[in-house]
């Protein structure tokens, strides 16, 4: 079951959901709006290799915004630390951003139960799009689970910066 606005607020208060910082004004009927963090990472290497690390560059987002270009993958993070050991987190964009042709994740919107961190966003655009640090970019929803919980102990569990893929997680 997906949590409603009031259920999310109660779970945050009870410590069952972490959203830091938390602003009740960002609650939607069944999700919470998160913000874009201040850093963006990208690689100039054209072909990515699932078995090898690419050199990722890091840049801050200036006040005048950062222009995302089609045909390239950018990694960023949520400004907030988000997660839950009680519920499953699903992370997507807001429809206002989808309407501008922005993907905030490529295929994997499902978070692991127990992962509490700044979520890495996988940004890619259809048309060039200027984005701004701190803007409301996406939304997270929380889902009740069924069965015994195995807490996440994966490679990205405590990440606070945009994390490129770790080839070792694919072997």
């Amino acid at each position: 079951m997906i949590l409603t606005r009031s259920a999310i607020a109660k779970a945050v208060e009870a410590g069952e959901i972490t959203i830091t910082p938390f602003d009740a004004g960002r609650l939607n009927p069944n999700s919470y709006n998160y913000s874009l963090g201040e850093e963006i990472r990208f690689t100039t290497q054209k072909t990515l290799d699932a078995k090898a690390n690419a050199p990722w560059l890091t840049t801050g987002i200036p006040d005048e915004g950062y222009l995302l270009r089609p045909g390239r993958l950018y990694l960023a993070t949520t400004a907030e630390v988000i997660g839950s050991t009680t519920f499953v987190t699903s992370l997507i964009g807001r429809s206002s951003m989808g309407r501008l042709g922005l993907f905030v994740q490529v295929t994997a919107d499902l978070g692991h139960q127990g992962a509490i961190h700044r979520w890495t966003l996988e940004l890619t655009v259809v048309q060039p799009l200027r984005v701004y640090a701190g803007m409301r970019l996406g939304q997270v929803s929380f889902w009740r689970t069924s069965g015994t919980v195995t807490a996440y102990g994966g490679a990205y569990g405590d990440a606070m910066a945009p994390m490129p893929a770790l080839p070792t997680s694919l072997t």
Binding site: A7, P70, Q127, R136
Partner: protein, 175 residues
Amino acid sequence: MILTGSEIARQVGLGRIEIDPFHEDQVNPNSYDFRLGFELLVYQDLELDARLPNKVDTITIGESGFTMAPDRVYLGSTVERMGSDHYVPIIRGKSSLGRLGLFVNMTADLIDIGSHNNWTLQFHAVQPLVVYPGMRIGQVTFWVPEGEIELYDGKYQGATGPRSSESFRDFEAQA
């Protein structure tokens, strides 16, 4: 929990799910197939800015179809007016269109509970693709929520056709 097709039909009958027009033969085992309206919006400028209103042109999809280009965002809408004050809708494309490289939403598949509209679809074609008005374009699933329900009262409520992004309003609110 996700509703089954027969439960979706039953809830439509009870008035707890709105799908208008509703046709039994568009019910799937766990979803309902919705159709593509005849209008598409396309942004006038290639370069978009999340902080500014981005102007759009309206395209009417003729019976002979319209070819979507990979380098453009197209905003369409569902023929049906849909929504629920009791279940959370999540939209998907149809696998038949996924197999043709068409995204029907970019990033935001989740609909707010209480949002009743002809929903805006966010199209991106990986290869050029011809689409037709009234064709089955996607499917909606309905999910049982947990907790007290507060209904959507946002900026896109009551839309009767495709609506372009109003993300610039977030910046006005922050200023």
